[in-house]
Amino acid sequence: MGYRIALGIWLSVVIVLALTLPMVAQPQHWYDLPIIPGLEGRARIIFFHVPTAWLSALAFVSSMVYGIKYLRKRNVEDDIKSSSAAGLGFLFCLLATVTGAIWAKFSWGTFWNWDPRETSIFVLLLIYGAYFALRSAIDVEEKRATLSAVYSIIAAATMPFFLFIMPRVLASLHPEPLLNAQGKVHMNTTMLALFLASLAGFTGLFFWMWNLHVRTQRIDLHQSMTKGE
């Protein structure tokens, strides 16, 4: 109970600060955010867009880890965790895509232009879509759990190839204020702290939602089992 209220307050403070702190060319006060050349006010998206993108990747990995766990132990609980993580990952992946596309409209003048990052997140969306299409096509619980776990493992094994392929095919315009090619950090301490606080807050939100989802799924499973008897 307590941690939910704490999480709510934490995220509210982060969101309010992220939207209201002034952006100035020469930060003097502790609460000033720097102006990043080329991004200006649009840089504020980093507090929301990057956490959602991070969570869609984290959820993907968590889903695969619990999939492997299921294959080893054959415990239905692990499959519930795996599929719930994938469901949330799909949600955050959509959010990252939509926020990114809106940002791209104002920065690049178009919602979508097949930037390497956009392509990668599109493939992640496709994988999530295929994963749920596969799950819905199998009726037997054990079979569904096994096959979707196997699919997520194969998908996770081929995903890293995009890191090598995309730079060969296209050049990216995606800003990397956190760690750019020159290894220079454009953010000042306040911005970095706020960014990390937002990342931590959203990660907490993810784990809370995950836990909630797993618990409702567990109740559903028990109900269907007692009905079946």
């Binding site: 096509a137 199998i138 096994t146 096959l147 081929t158 392929i165």
Partner: protein, 231 residues
């Protein structure tokens, strides 16, 4: 095998036997060959009709060759495992051969099928499409060889998964596309290099990606195949 329940063929023999079994049943019905062949002819003629006498930039043409190959492969490659389920012979196969040998045999069969399919589509494509001229044959041949093997590797494990699902046909391209996309992007790039007349050395990066893709997919597939194959 009537000689008794103690008979166990060696791994290589079992894999070869699975391959030969598929080979003979394919020659008997010619299901996959005719489906794939007709699919190639159909898609290439659609490309021809849509282009007319106009022609298109070489980037678009080399991409379209792999679109033809992708969809024809998707129409026939799931057959190896789906047929086992439909005929109800999957269980027998499970009893008679270790699962890794089944996977190796099916992979070999799909590999042969994809290579034949790719060569046929490349010949027809180069013969009929105006403007698709390959300048560096060494790049093109290696791309076709590695690309086919990578295709077969990913398509085989997805076929094994799909054979166990209830909607077998429609899901196959859906599940395969995200897995095959790294391969597709690389072979399209390599084909463009071959058409532009790049030197063989310039395509080494592409070949490295293709070879590592084949190694990764085959390794992961053989590790997880047991879970898919055994009930």
């Amino acid at each position: 095998m009537s000689s008794g329940d103690t008979y166990r063929p060696s791994w290589g023999r079992a894999a070869l036997a699975v391959f030969l079994k598929d080979w003979h049943s394919e020659l008997r019905t010619r299901y996959a060959i005719s489906a794939l062949g007709m699919f190639i002819v159909t898609t290439i003629s659609i490309v021809l009709f849509s282009l007319g006498s106009e022609g298109a930039p070489i980037e678009a043409l080399s991409g379209m060759l792999w679109v033809v190959i992708f969809f024809s492969a998707m129409s026939g490659l799931s057959r190896t495992f789906v047929a086992e389920e439909e005929r109800g012979t999957a269980m027998t196969l499970q009893l008679h051969a270790p699962s890794s040998a089944v996977f190796a045999g099916k992979l070999l069969f799909n590999g042969v099928l994809v290579i034949a399919l790719t060569i046929l589509s490349a010949i027809l494509y180069a013969g009929f499409i105006n403007g698709f001229v390959i300048k560096t044959y060494s790049i093109f041949i290696l791309t076709i060889a590695f690309g086919s093997l990578g295709f077969a590797a990913a398509a085989t494990i997805i076929a094994a998964i799909i054979a166990r699902a209830s909607t077998k046909g429609t899901l196959y391209p859906v599940l395969s596309f995200p897995i095959l996309l790294p391969l597709l992007l690389t072979v399209i790039n390599a084909t463009r290099l071959a058409a532009e007349g790049a030197l063989l050395e310039e395509a080494f990066g592409e070949f490295q990606i293709l070879i590592s893709y084949i190694v990764v997919v085959v390794t992961i597939s053989s590790l997880v195949f047991d879970y898919v194959w055994k009930d």
